[in-house]
C-alpha cells in the first residue's frame, strides 16, 4: 500500500495537505491546543488572576474521592444520555415505521416532526421551563381535567426534573433518528417482505424478524450518534433547573461552568474537561468502528 502512495509522487501529498491546512490550523488553535491546555491546567490551582500553582494530582483525588456533586452530575449526565438516546431512538423508530407505510400526508408529517429540531435549545428550554413552572400550562391542564392531586413543582423534585428534561429532548430530537430509519427502510427490498408473507410470517414478525435486523447498522450508528450528542447536554439544564434543587440536577457541563465561572476554580474544573474529552474520544472511536468510516480509511479508495 505504501508503494501505491509513493508512486503518486510528492506533489499529491503536498496538494492534499495544503488543502487541509486552513481547517487543520483552525481546529489546532481552537480545539486541540485548548484541550492540551486543559490537561495542563488540571494539575494546577488557578483562580484566573494569580499565577498557576502546581497541585499534582490533588485535583483528581479531590474530584474522584471527595466531590459528591461530581458523582451526582456524572450519574445525571449518564441518566440523561441513556434516557434521551433510547427515548428518541424508540419514538423515532415508531414514527418512521408508520410513515414508511406511506400513510396519507406522510410528507407533511415528516416536515412537521422535524420542526422542533431546528429551534434554538435555549428557546425550547425556556418554553418548556414556563410550561412546567408551578403556575404553568402543565399544572393548569391537570387542574382543568380534575387531577389537581397530581400537580407538582416539576423542577422542585430532582427525579421529576430529570424526567422532564429527558421528555423535552425526546420532544425536540426524535425526528433525528426518524430520518435515519426512514432512509434505511426505503432501502429494504419489498420482495423480502413478500417472501416472508408467503412463508406465513405474521405482521409483527415482519417488523421483528425483517425490519429490525435489516436496520441493525443504521440503528447502531444512530444510537452512537445520539449518545455523542446527548452527552453534550448543557443548555437544557442551564436554563431549566440551573442545577437546582441543591445541586442535584447538575450535569457535567453545568457543574464545570459553575466551578469555573462562579467559584473561579479553573484548575479543578479542568478535571471535568479532561473527563469529557476522554469520553468524546471513546465515543468517536466506537463511531469510527460502527459507521463504516474505518473501512473507507483501510481501503484507501479515492
Amino acid at each position: 500500500m505504501r508503494k501505491r502512495f509513493r508512486s503518486n509522487g510528492n506533489s499529491e501529498n503536498l496538494v492534499g495537505w495544503l488543502m487541509l491546512a486552513p481547517g487543520l490550523i483552525l481546529v489546532t488553535i481552537f480545539m486541540i491546543y485548548p484541550s492540551f491546555q486543559s490537561i495542563a491546567l488540571s494539575f494546577f490551582k488557578w483562580n484566573g488572576f494569580t499565577a498557576w500553582r502546581f497541585n499534582g494530582v490533588e485535583n483528581y483525588i479531590e474530584m474522584f474521592t471527595r466531590d459528591r456533586f461530581f458523582y451526582q452530575s456524572f450519574i445525571n449526565t449518564v441518566i440523561f444520555q441513556l434516557g434521551a438516546t433510547f427515548g428518541t431512538v424508540f419514538v423515532g423508530f415508531v414514527l418512521a415505521a408508520i410513515i414508511d407505510l406511506k400513510v396519507k400526508l406522510w410528507r407533511s408529517y415528516r416536515i412537521i416532526f422535524f420542526l422542533p429540531y431546528v429551534l434554538a435549545q435555549f428557546a425550547v428550554a425556556t418554553l418548556w421551563g414556563t410550561i412546567f413552572s408551578p403556575t404553568g400550562l402543565a399544572n393548569e391542564i391537570l387542574a382543568r381535567i380534575g387531577l389537581e392531586s397530581l400537580q407538582v413543582a416539576w423542577f422542585g423534585i430532582p427525579w421529576v426534573a430529570k424526567v422532564v428534561m429527558i421528555f423535552v429532548a425526546i420532544w425536540q430530537y426524535s425526528s433525528f433518528p426518524m430520518i435515519f430509519f426512514l432512509a434505511g427502510m426505503q432501502n429494504i427490498d419489498e420482495e423480502i417482505y413478500e417472501a416472508a408473507e408467503i412463508d406465513g410470517a405474521t405482521k409483527l414478525q415482519r417488523i421483528t424478524r425483517i425490519t429490525i435486523p435489516l436496520l441493525k447498522n443504521v440503528g447502531s450508528i444512530i444510537i452512537i450518534l445520539q449518545l455523542i450528542l446527548s452527552f453534550k447536554v448543557f443548555t437544557y439544564v442551564f436554563i431549566m433547573t440551573e442545577g437546582k434543587p441543591a445541586n442535584q440536577t447538575h450535569v457535567l457541563g453545568t457543574l464545570l461552568f459553575r466551578y469555573a465561572f462562579e467559584f473561579q476554580q479553573f484548575g479543578y474544573s479542568s478535571v471535568l474537561s479532561i473527563l469529557m474529552i476522554i469520553m468524546a474520544l471513546i465515543f468517536g472511536y466506537v463511531y469510527l468502528k460502527t459507521s463504516g468510516y474505518s473501512e473507507i480509511i483501510r481501503k484507501k479508495k479515492v
Binding site: G16, I98, F114, L115, L127, F231, G284
Partner: protein, 284 residues
C-alpha cells in the same frame, strides 16, 4: 406499496396508526403555537387565563422601544447574530470544502490520522473547552469582538462539515473531471466549471445545517460577548429572561423572535436539511 399498506394497515388498523401520527404532530406543534399565540396577549391576560385566545391582537409585546428603555437592544443582537453567523459560515464552508475535497479525491500520506482526529473532535463539546477558549480569545484581544466567535465557530463545526462534504465528493464521478481535462480545461477551470456548480446542492445543505447550529449557539457567546452591544440574540434574550422572568408577554415575544429565522430557513430548505443530516453519518 399499495399492497404493503393494506396488509400492514389491517394489522393495527391504519386509522389507529394515523391517529398516532396526528397526536405526535399536535404534540410538536401545540407548544410552539401556544407560545406564539401567548405573545399576542398582554401579560395580564396570560396570567388570568393561559388557554384563552387573545382578546385583541396585542402587539405591545413586540414594542422594541419598551425593550430599549430597559437596555435590551433586540435589533443590535439580531444584527450581531446575523453577521457572526454569516461570516462564520463563509469561512467554515471554504475551509471544509477544500479539506473535504482533499480527503475524498486526493491520495496523500496521513489521511487516516486526519479522518480519525476529525471524528474524535465531533464529540468534543464547546463547554468542555470553555475555560481555555475564554483565556485564548481574551489573549488574542477578541473579547466582545465578532472574530472572537467567528473563528471558534468555524473551528468547532469544521470536523462534522468536512466529513459530510467528503461523503458528497466521494460519490462525485471522476470521469467528469477527466473529460473536462481532455477537452482542454486546466485544473482550475475543471474545478470552477465542473466541480463547483455540481456541488452547490451539497454546499447549501451544509450552509443551512450549520446556520441553525451557529444561530442557536449559546454558551460560548454568553462567555465571550460581555458588553451589551456585542451580545448575540440568544445571549441578549436569556439576559432579559433572567431579569424579567414574570413579564410573560414580552418573554414569549422574545422567544418568537429567536425562533423565526431558523423556522423560515427550515421551511424554505427542508429538503436539503432532511437529506443532509443523514448524508455525512453513514458509510462516509
Amino acid at each position: 406499496m399499495a399492497t404493503q399498506k393494506s396488509k400492514f394497515g389491517s394489522f393495527l388498523g391504519s386509522s389507529t396508526l394515523q391517529l398516532l401520527l396526528i397526536l405526535w404532530a399536535f404534540m410538536q406543534i401545540i407548544p410552539v403555537l401556544w407560545q406564539v399565540i401567548s405573545s399576542f396577549k398582554t401579560t395580564r391576560e396570560i396570567i388570568v387565563d393561559l388557554f384563552a385566545l387573545p382578546k385583541s391582537f396585542y402587539l405591545g409585546n413586540y414594542d422594541f422601544t419598551y425593550f430599549s428603555e430597559i437596555g435590551i437592544k433586540i435589533g443590535v443582537y439580531f444584527r450581531n447574530s446575523m453577521l457572526i453567523t454569516l461570516f462564520s459560515l463563509a469561512i467554515l464552508i471554504i475551509v471544509s470544502y477544500l479539506a473535504a475535497y482533499a480527503i475524498a479525491k486526493i491520495r496523500f500520506r496521513g489521511k487516516n490520522i486526519v479522518v480519525f482526529v476529525l471524528i474524535a473532535l465531533i464529540g468534543v463539546p464547546i463547554h468542555a473547552l470553555v475555560v481555555p477558549l475564554y483565556y485564548l480569545i481574551s489573549d488574542m484581544g477578541l473579547i466582545n469582538r465578532y472574530l472572537g466567535l467567528i473563528l471558534p465557530y468555524a473551528s468547532f463545526f469544521f470536523p462534522f462539515t468536512t466529513l459530510l462534504l467528503q461523503s458528497f465528493f466521494r460519490e462525485f464521478p471522476d470521469e467528469l473531471i477527466e473529460a473536462a481535462k481532455i477537452d482542454g480545461c486546466n485544473n482550475f477551470q475543471a474545478f470552477s466549471k465542473i466541480v463547483l456548480p455540481i456541488s452547490m446542492g451539497a454546499i447549501s445543505t451544509v450552509f443551512i445545517i450549520n446556520f441553525i447550529q451557529m444561530w442557536n449557539e449559546f454558551l460560548l457567546a454568553y462567555v465571550i460577548m460581555k458588553s451589551n452591544d456585542s451580545r448575540t440574540l440568544p445571549v441578549g434574550i436569556v439576559q432579559y429572561q433572567g431579569n424579567y422572568i414574570t413579564e410573560w408577554g414580552p418573554l414569549y415575544a422574545t422567544l418568537v423572535i429567536a425562533i423565526i429565522p431558523t423556522i423560515l430557513v427550515y421551511l424554505i430548505f427542508h429538503r436539503n436539511i432532511i437529506k443532509g443530516v443523514t448524508a455525512g453519518a453513514i458509510k462516509g
